[in-house]
Symmetry: C2
Subunit: 632 residues, 2 copies
Amino acid sequence: MPTITFRPDNLAATAEDGEALTTVAARAGVPLRSDCGGQGACRKCAVTLQAGGLRDRAGAPLAPDPDGEVLACQAVVAGDATIAVPEESRAADLTPLAKTLGHVAERLAAHGVAEPLAMRRCLRIDPPAKGDSLADVDRIFDALRTADPHLRRLSADLPTLRALPTVLRQSGWNVCTTIVDGPDASGLANVSLACDIGRAMFGVAVDIGTSTVAVSLVRLDTGRVVAAAGKRNGQIRYGDDVISRIIWTEEHDGGLEMMRAAVVETLNEVIREACEAVGIPTSDVLALTVAANSTMMNFLLGIPSGPIRRDPHTPPASWLPLFTAGELGLDAWSRAPVMCLPTVSGFVGADITAGVLATGMAEAEGLTVLVDVGTNGEIVVGMEGMLVCASCSAGPAFEGVGIECGMHGAPGAIEGVAYDAAADQVAIEVIGRKPPQGICGTGFIDLLASLFQAGALDRGARFQRDFPTARLRVGEHDETEFVVAFAGEHGATRDLAVRQSDIENLVRSKAAVHAGISMLLGKLHLAPEMIEQLHLAGGFGSRLDVRRAVQIGLLPDLPPERVAYVGNTALAGAHLCLVSREARERVRALAAAMTYIELSVEPGFMEEYVASMFLPHTQTERFPSVVRAATG
Amino acid sequence: MPTITFRPDNLAATAEDGEALTTVAARAGVPLRSDCGGQGACRKCAVTLQAGGLRDRAGAPLAPDPDGEVLACQAVVAGDATIAVPEESRAADLTPLAKTLGHVAERLAAHGVAEPLAMRRCLRIDPPAKGDSLADVDRIFDALRTADPHLRRLSADLPTLRALPTVLRQSGWNVCTTIVDGPDASGLANVSLACDIGRAMFGVAVDIGTSTVAVSLVRLDTGRVVAAAGKRNGQIRYGDDVISRIIWTEEHDGGLEMMRAAVVETLNEVIREACEAVGIPTSDVLALTVAANSTMMNFLLGIPSGPIRRDPHTPPASWLPLFTAGELGLDAWSRAPVMCLPTVSGFVGADITAGVLATGMAEAEGLTVLVDVGTNGEIVVGMEGMLVCASCSAGPAFEGVGIECGMHGAPGAIEGVAYDAAADQVAIEVIGRKPPQGICGTGFIDLLASLFQAGALDRGARFQRDFPTARLRVGEHDETEFVVAFAGEHGATRDLAVRQSDIENLVRSKAAVHAGISMLLGKLHLAPEMIEQLHLAGGFGSRLDVRRAVQIGLLPDLPPERVAYVGNTALAGAHLCLVSREARERVRALAAAMTYIELSVEPGFMEEYVASMFLPHTQTERFPSVVRAATG
């Protein structure tokens, strides 16, 4: 198979002759721009051929233009080649779901791509000499240990042992092995034989949210994401939130199995989508890591979750063993190990331990807070190595679920809104610069803040019917609604409007998150202004206007530089575990160190929640910057 | 279920109401005599009822006789009972295959029944209190660690995790777990849930010989053998020795799978036989350990063995991971772990490492030799911690294979022979005091020695046609034969005769063994008279007359007290591994410490072999005691 090497990164991928160069580049971890959709019109994917040759799609040799460049979108592979990719031809983040790539890169620099959960290693072994009675499998183990001194204890399973004597001799002692992590922390690694020498190795990091399933396809040798994909969780047809889904499984014969099948189906669709994007078969996925909230993790594994919804909300397991893709029905190499990240409690799951890992907050000095706004809101407070966590029932509004024009942070979602009351115009930013199809979490934050600031919403988050605008109207069910984009405006194909009930939904969410933060800090006798760093995580957009999030009272009133929107940290933590043994060991230690506090039984929680239902809060003195902006 | 306790041992077994008391006694590890076959005639099974009640087979309460005794063979269970078993009512060794029980008992005293390969532990767990978010599986792990502090790292598989939340709550937090060893030396143990609280736990130790498959059924709590069974290896239809079987698998499509199926079928038959003897279902077998020569081990696992028969005789694996009974198709609990003992080389297998473990020879001071006479002969020399081993092609003659009247050491086999030339009478001892059906290895040793001493065989092991006896005759194919028992004599149903070709077969075997011992000692510059202890192992009888074995030149001329017939040490070593973690770790260390010497390439081997084809040897000066006996 030809090998294509991309400079200056020195990332390489094997390819089929005739394969599109853009696909190979993505697989190598160097995604290219494709502003015109591969039509050869925009010239944004120009690269330089440094060695070897390329052909055009008709099969003719591809000649460089006068600048010495070729358009990658017009080129197909014709043998080995070396391609230089200028900075301006590179695609930015693959999708908003992979927003935290930069963050992961930083953490990877700390943890290193070392001992990924699985790896391929091809060996040329000396055949046994006369009088040498060393067993075949020990000969392979010795060769692997020589190549990788950290591979201390190795094991092989029955299919491998059965294949070994024949494969070794038929291949002329030239074999490819796959090495996967053994049982948790046993230090044991399992060796399998693979016959397809030279293939690259990939892993999939998974985040199963109640609303959205997201994956990153990662090259296990470089640690780089080569594709990302996300999709609405197919379990939504059985209920919007975890509690209603648990009840559904309990009230339907075979309900748990249907629930399991639904998420496996969604997950397999996104795995296939990511693999297709870079032209690899799903059998090249050699390892998976999964972050998910406790109930989603149980559903993936087919474990009953009834106890989670009943006091004391006991999860079945905090720790989980390594599974195989085959055992879980996942579309990957059937023996690929599947690491499910550890859980803290029934309502603080592996998505949060992954987030603590990915943000590095346990290593930070000073008070650090992680707020993950998903279908539930989870909060982790870290200070001087202490980690305390809690959960609040935020609901899925910020993920766009339960809101007519809501959607998750995918291309086509309005992620930024600015309402100019004087002109009665709404400026929007859409992910992927496409026509708007709906509004995602960050868009709603901007919208609430804009409307409140303009006076279209009062402090009780009620639309002011006398506010002078053509965008407020009475819609279905006699409900007041605000039109963000009329059909035709910004290319919208229909009116995108937010109703009074949608606003209430969003406010309940933000109130739950804010009350959770306040209660947890109060419980620890810490004041919000002591927070040195607040990580806001979640898959609800690709950018967050911190000032706006404070204006609506979602977050405490902190200077913007102390708040970072860190995207999907669950996915980022899973990604780290895929490529670093140190990360896998670290996340287990973090989960064990996290103390769970049950907020709902804390006195004063309901009062704080009700006070937080106002914009920004009943106690405006807690939001001096908002007061200053309004009066200033 | 009623529990029957046997005194003074304090061994107990649960039983069904109406179950035969003798079956329950066997299951508890207290086998009773049954000289009349359970007819109530011999009164050898008299026991005393100390508490509780028994019924007769018709269901009436069983009244003790005037001595206060009841006949166990007439009694069935009727609720809990305590039974005192006098020494004279106990059965001796279960079968000759379990001859080494005493030996194992001694080693067990050293290793202890500690951390068997699997164990059941029933738990009553405190349900979670309000605010306690400890996960279900961690609650079980904590309870197990409290009960067994050595259980450090625990794991649970997917079926267990799926069952856990429901079983825990439906059982009222009162569950039975099975704990099995995790992957080799990982220190990890896997926990499963079992619903059948109160059942005893059993394991099976297996020895797969080329000719015979033998098992011991062992109670995992007490370490005692409760039943034993053995059977001709069903693979014999594909060839008598390992080389011919390897060739057969190579020359037939699907041959390896047929070979595998044949031994699995035999093994499952003996497992079922042993379980039926003590009235347990095979699903109560929670763990298995397997000793076997390298080729038999490969065949059991379905691993191709071709390289073993070709220079340099490379085995596929010396170390083997834990398998499950289900994966290997064995008739036991499907998740029962199967430990295959480690192998040294293609011709020194797990049967020999098991033997080194069971005899404790590695810990002995002075020169110690283990000679295992099976279908191959293997020799291990130990001195001051050094272990050197070799193999010689003895052939299966001493196991009765390839000899018309030969059989393995099972009930009905003539195991002792004394020929009185003056009276022309042959006195015989038969295993199980039954009518003779054939002759086993120790019987052949006696026979050769007797005939040689009487002058019926010359030093070249040829029958002397002019020897005055009615027992020498010309049989089929004009071949001279000696009748050990005529039909009707000793209850024989047919003439049991040994032919000249049988004698030659046996002499080739003894020559190979003797030449092997001589060569290996010579290679190490050690003289036979330096041997302080020689362990003669093998399943060829239940008793060995050392003097006779020296007379025919099977063994070097050592004082009888330095030679011990230790029976089936492969089975004994497997038994130890079943019930002791220390033994499992020890046997792996022993295998790694053993150095294999390939005798066939040593100069002088063929000369030594040919010289050993005489009775006792061409160099009679090596056998001074034999010369003294002949001349004295």
